[in-house]
Amino acid sequence: MEQFRKILKKVIEPNSVFINCPFDNNYFPLLKPLLFTLIYIDLTPKISETSDSGKVRLNNVKDLMSISKYSIHDLSRMEPLNKNEYPRFNMPFECGIDFGLKMSDEKKYASKKFLILEKENYRYQKVISDISGNDIKAHNNDPEQMIKVIRDWFKPINLNIPRHKEIWLAFNEFEFVNEEILVKEGYDPKDINSLTFSDIIENMKAWIQKYKGNQE
């Protein structure tokens, strides 16, 4: 109960976006453009590190949800990665928590908005039909489409955000630099575990800030 009261006291940050997605190397090529797009359009991604010491991860997730005005829940990878593995319920589970949080205080969280991502249109109707009526978009497992879907969803909120093509081209340029620097530093750029998410976000921020500054 005390924990719940603490959450209710937290202030919602208007530029924060909570991200609920898989953390594996198969998803990494989609996570990078997702993070990059949010930073490019001046938003702040909030993503929980996969193993936070000293704090239960779920509490951390709940804290991030409670301060984020926006949430992006990617439900495209619920099925097992391999035939003999189990399905992955973390994403729909966290999505449910976020909906529960919003419903726990309709007044405080009135402005909270959710974007649900899927790999193909209308698949959610078969697996999690309760979310019908929310904004559900398909990225088709395509990094450029991921950028377009995210950018287009935020466009009505911020009319000044650039075309998706500008972000896609910038992302490609960043990927070259990312690969070059990380390989030189002894990291594997394809491994999601090479750096922490906060490092990845810091690197993107530093690059984007300078890149956009050069164009002004």
Partner: protein
């Protein structure tokens, strides 16, 4: 979990990389074709229907020192130096 590193040091490198121009030209697959973009430019110089014609267009840019051909996920497929091309 990823390794926590000296992030200031690393992010400085990213910041520096965004402000240097090595005459690189990027060939990027897009929904509307293959875009040819000079490093640091906001828009594509030209968009071609095929990768081959995009690489050819990139090679013809005067300031070009290197052509970077990207895959559909943004990663690098080919990194062609001007000197390699002229050999």
């Amino acid at each position: 979990m990823g390794k926590k590193i000296n992030s200031t040091n690393l992010s400085d490198k990213f910041s520096k990389a965004a402000s240097t121009n090595h005459g690189r030209v990027h060939v990027v697959p897009s929904k509307d074709g293959w875009s040819v973009k000079k490093e640091g430019a906001k828009r594509a110089t030209v968009v071609k229907n095929s990768k081959e014609s995009a690489v050819k267009a990139a090679n013809s840019i005067k300031s070009m020192q290197r052509v970077i051909v990207h895959k559909k996920d943004g990663t690098i497929q080919k990194n062609i130096k001007k000197s390699d091309r002229t050999q």
